[in-house]
């Protein structure tokens, strides 16, 4: 069976950042520790997109509640969580109201593998918006070897034309732009506290 691409949360957030304001993706929840992973995704989204990220439970939200929650405000990032699973009726209902789900900010569907199958089968209108942007929550590529870390630090330093120490100084002086590469640089330098 073919599988979806595995992406760490940082990459998923980066993809949404590239797309600009609007963007729809679906992320398959990992088999274990789903709740901690959801927190991690929320943090990555906030850090990379530089905007708040909220989690909305799909199962318990009515049409009116969901519409209101998505549009007040409508510019932040929203994670629509399918929880332990949604009924087929709920999927059909969500699909019918797709236009009401459209908003300025990005929408991330956080779904179990079973729910992804239901999304594809019973919500063709939402699936069409997501297209091929269905990802498996993967391990953070931050778990790299020391050699890989050093190599990447060297690349970043060469690309931007200044050293890691200079990057830290700029971050402390709030002179470092909020670009994903600088976020990555500071994290690799162990200075995620400066973000």
């Amino acid at each position: 069976m073919s599988e979806f691409s595995t992406e760490p949360f940082f990459e998923i957030a980066r993809r949404l950042e590239i797309r600009g304001e609007t963007g729809w993706v679906a992320v398959l929840t990992p088999a274990t520790d789903s709740s901690a992973s959801l927190d991690q995704l929320q943090t990555e989204l906030q850090s990379v997109l530089q905007k708040p990220a909220r989690v909305i439970q799909l199962e318990t939200s009515t049409f009116e509640e969901l519409r209101e929650a998505l549009h007040q405000p409508d510019g932040d990032a929203v994670i629509l969580s399918g929880g332990t699973g949604l009924t087929l009726e709920k999927w059909r209902s969500l699909d019918i109201m797709r236009s009401a789900l459209e908003r300025k900010g990005p929408v991330i569907l956080w779904l179990s593998p079973g729910d992804v199958a239901h999304l594809i089968e019973h919500a063709p209108n939402i699936r069409s918006f997501i297209g091929g942007s269905i990802f498996l929550a993967g391990p953070d590529r931050g778990i790299m070897t020391e050699t890989e870390r050093q190599e990447r630090l060297k690349e970043l330093s060469q690309h931007f034309g200044f050293s890691g120490a200079e990057a830290v100084r700029k971050a402390q002086a709030r002179e470092l732009p909020h670009e994903p590469e600088f976020v990555e640089w500071l994290v690799l330098l162990g200075r995620g506290d400066l973000l």
């Binding site: 073919s2 993809r15 049409f63 109201m97 236009s99 199958a117 699936r127 069409s128 942007s133 269905i134």
Partner: protein, 362 residues
Amino acid sequence: MVGGVGSGKTTELLLAEQWLRKQGNGLTFFYDISQETDLSSLNSGALLARFGIGLDWIVLNLGSLSRADSQAEKLGEFSREIMEFAFGKRVRRDLTSIDDRPKSIYELARDEVESHFLTENVPGKLNPPLPPLNRDIQEVRAPLEEFLAIARKAHRDVVVVFDGLDRLLDATKFWSVVHQDLRLLREMKVSVLATAPLSVLFGAGVGQSISDHFDRVHHLSVIASDPENASLRSVLDKRRGSELLTMQEADAICHFSGGVLRDLISLARDAAEEAYVSDHDSITAADVEKVVHQLGTGYLRGLGPEATKTLLKLQSSKSFKVDVPANVELLLTRRVLEYSSTDFRVHPALLSVIPRTEQKRV
């Protein structure tokens, strides 16, 4: 306007609205009804209610019309009726004089025995071709006609565009609003442009012809990505795709989109995104391959063995029965694309990920 998901129906309707507004002298309304109401519990009358609210607002804000006090009062009354029709109202019933509580079958039987009568339905010989207009639909006619008469003093034609009705995958609900809401609008000489679900064309046992209820049915089929058809390439070029894509990669994206406009745009965007996150200077064949695989895997997920067999049979023999409900599902989920009433094909991105072992088996 009938077409599959992502075929560009909304874009067409928006262009139509824009064109209509440019013609002057017309009054055009555009509603995506799925944004306005929960379509899963759509009631007949919902379209009339939305149109009524819009018309009411326009008429009451027509500054050029001077009205006598008596007319203003009458309009106020009609406006209230439309709002109540849309949002409901509270009514007070005198329970001491009206016994309209539902009766049990025992009470009904007792009434009949005590009164020495029996109630039964005797069907007539002439069945009406369409169900009669509901009483509440008939009641909203007077206020709508009053507002229309005023609007027509300033605007010659009134047109209402309803988007979102294609989401009603169950065609029964679509027909119920056609028989009630759209019928009344036609009787009131209001022109309507609406989307319809694909199932009204292919649904088995629907037994109703959409062309009987609309003056014109426009089927927005997918666009063939044949070399002589440059339409898909022009969509990419308009979005400056040629700046990042070689001719070969652009052709691959056109081909694997199957001619579904939304898939075409998302494949091109995803390929560019893939190239960016992979630190490629331009979109490579590997980037395109990866995003095609992602899209195809999406279509493949949840596909049962029987459906896979149907798809592979379609691919090898070109035969596809549109009156089989399971096959209609394949059309609705875009796994099968309709290029014409006799030309059906498996979505190319899906076909590319169906395991070769399965393909050899058929």
